[in-house]
């Protein structure tokens, strides 16, 4: 019987056209990730980790090949359907958190829910529930710009999970954090994984490399997968 996959990357290449010429970010990448698997994508800067995550999140389209997430060919999705896919099925934690600095922590967390057209009360309740889970509810009315790095990170995690997506993607989530906050993030990651989510983390932070709860480490170099370790 064919194994069920949460994420399948099939012969994906990505070439960026720049003024200086073509840059091959990914070259014929094949990858399959099972549901509830926690995968670390590791490799030096420029190895294609972030590009791969953005293709899984349907933020970009490949140059060739395809990405299939939960049996949906996400690389073939038209833009409006890709937005819907991201909103319903993907949580994304960015390296610099990408919070909206002028909004409060609570508003930042419920932003992904706004297009769902649910009442303001329900919106706030949902956001607060996930903020409490990550011990940040007490900062609900603080402007994002006024929060510390650790607090911003929690708000970013809460925002990524507020839609209860089955897949969580994190791109260098600890790059702007000190060692203590990085370990805290890893603790959060274990909790999220125990909730049954499929997680892909792109990082070159060594803290992630020997974690007992990580299922697989995939090493990338120059846009290619060069090794896998369980």
């Amino acid at each position: 019987m064919r194994e069920r996959h949460a994420i399948e990357v099939k012969s994906v290449s990505k070439i960026f056209e720049t003024a200086a010429g073509s840059v091959q970010a990914l070259e014929a990448v094949d990858l399959a990730i099972r549901p509830n698997e926690l995968v670390i994508l590791k490799g030096p800067s420029g190895s294609g980790k972030s590009t791969l995550l953005s293709l899984i999140a349907a933020l970009q389209k490949p140059t060739c090949g395809e990405v299939v997430v939960e049996n949906e060919r996400v690389s073939k999705l038209p833009d409006d359907f890709a937005a819907l896919y991201r909103r319903r099925r993907i949580g994304f934690i960015f390296q610099k958190f990408n919070l909206i600095p002028t909004l409060s922590a609570l508003e930042n967390v419920y932003t992904p829910l706004l297009p769902e057209r649910i009442g303001e009360r329900e919106l706030e309740e949902k956001a607060l529930r996930v903020m409490e889970e990550f011990s940040i509810a007490h900062k609900r009315d603080e402007r994002a710009a006024a929060l510390s790095g650790g607090e911003q990170q929690r708000v970013a995690i809460a925002r990524a999970l507020v839609n209860d997506p089955p897949i969580l993607l994190a791109d260098e989530p600890t790059a702007n954090l000190d060692a203590k906050l990085s370990r805290e993030f890893i603790g959060f990651l274990e909790r999220i994984r125990d909730e049954g989510k499929t997680i892909v983390v792109a990082t070159h932070d060594p803290l992630f490399f020997d974690l007992p709860f990580v299922d697989r480490q995939i090493e990338m170099h120059d846009g290619r997968v060069v090794g896998t370790r369980r």
Binding site: K10, S11, C64
Partner: protein
């Protein structure tokens, strides 16, 4: 000497600009129409997908603008009547050159064709697999010559109008017709025209009650010429309250409360949505019933407004014209 009123300049410039954009879209459409393969994951297909969003958006905006520009075209023709000796309304301006009537016919035809393309585009973009992308770009290749023809006719028409030459007024055009077709329009027996008109309206209602998009489309398609014919032959005389005034253009003037805009919008909307319902049914789209309701509602509005005038005239005067 050419007639260059502000309205004409605006129309000529906008149509030239839209034709330029449409030509670029045409070049890009050829490869989409030829090479589109929705299942492919090749660089070419991804390139075509990106291009198709851009081109479809450009084409859609061109067609939306053309629909709006039609109203401005009518308004401009009506305005020009004040500048041409002999013209009393847009009819005289249309008849001022041999290109006027073909231009008018092509513009109306384009309204339906472009509108139906937009319906197909809308259905296509609501589906995740974009099943009609190839079809709509092939259709665009077929529609492009109509766009060119319309623009050329408009340039020829406005370019050939001589403001020093006396043109016929609508009274002459529609009362002592110089073409056999218009002569036929004004001399047809009113009861027969009215009978055909109400019969077709009954067919539209029946098609709606039986929820048949095909019957709705056919009855609406037939309703277009019959509605125009009955307006010229019969109903216009009651709107003007003059037995020999048959002009379909004077209805657009302030003297008659701009009732023509209401009538023609309702007639276009009703018949267009009737055709759109058929397109939606053929594409398996869920909006079939909604468009049929719009079609019947607007057709009914048209019938109600044109029928009101003879009834009001009869109640007031006790005779039919």
């Amino acid at each position: 000497m050419n007639l260059l009123s502000p309205g004409v300049v605006v129309l000529q410039m906008l149509d030239a600009l839209l034709l330029f954009l449409a030509s670029i879209a045409l070049i890009l459409s050829v490869s989409i129409a030829r090479k589109w393969d929705p299942d492919a994951t090749t660089p070419q297909q991804y390139r075509l997908e990106k291009r198709s969003y851009l081109v479809a958006t450009v084409v859609a905006y061109i067609f939306y603008l053309k629909l709006l520009l039609f109203l401005y075209f009518i308004h401009t023709l009506d305005d020009l009547a004040a500048l041409l000796p002999g013209a009393m309304c847009a009819a005289g301006v249309t008849d001022a050159t041999p290109y006027g009537t073909p231009l008018f016919v092509v513009k109306i035809l384009d309204l339906y064709l472009f509108g139906l393309w937009l319906v197909l585009h809308r259905i296509d973009t609501k589906r995740v697999d974009r099943p009609y992308t190839r079809t709509k770009f092939r259709l665009y290749l077929l529609l492009f010559p109509f766009l060119v023809l319309e623009t050329i006719l408009q340039f020829l028409h406005f370019g050939a109008i001589d403001p020093h030459r006396i043109v016929s007024c609508c009274g002459t055009l529609f009362s002592a017709p110089k073409t056999p077709l218009i002569g036929l329009f004004t001399t047809l027996p009113a009861p027969a025209v009215a009978g055909l008109f109400y019969l077709l309206y009954a067919a539209i209602l029946l098609a709606w009650l039986r929820r048949s998009p095909t019957a709705t489309a056919i009855s609406n398609l037939l309703f277009i010429p019959v509605a125009v014919l009955s307006l010229i032959t019969l109903f216009s005389t009651y709107i003007y309250q003059m037995p020999h005034h048959h002009c379909p253009f004077c209805l657009l003037q302030a003297d008659y409360g701009y009732v023509g805009y209401l009538l023609y919008t309702a007639l276009f909307g009703g018949t267009f949505f009737g055709l759109a319902a058929w397109v939606a049914e053929k594409c398996g789209d869920g909006r079939v019933r909604r468009w049929m309701v719009w079609s019947v509602a607007l057709d009914t509005l048209y019938v109600a407004v044109v029928s009101f005038h003879p009834i009001a005239y009869y109640l007031e005067n006790g005779v039919w014209l």
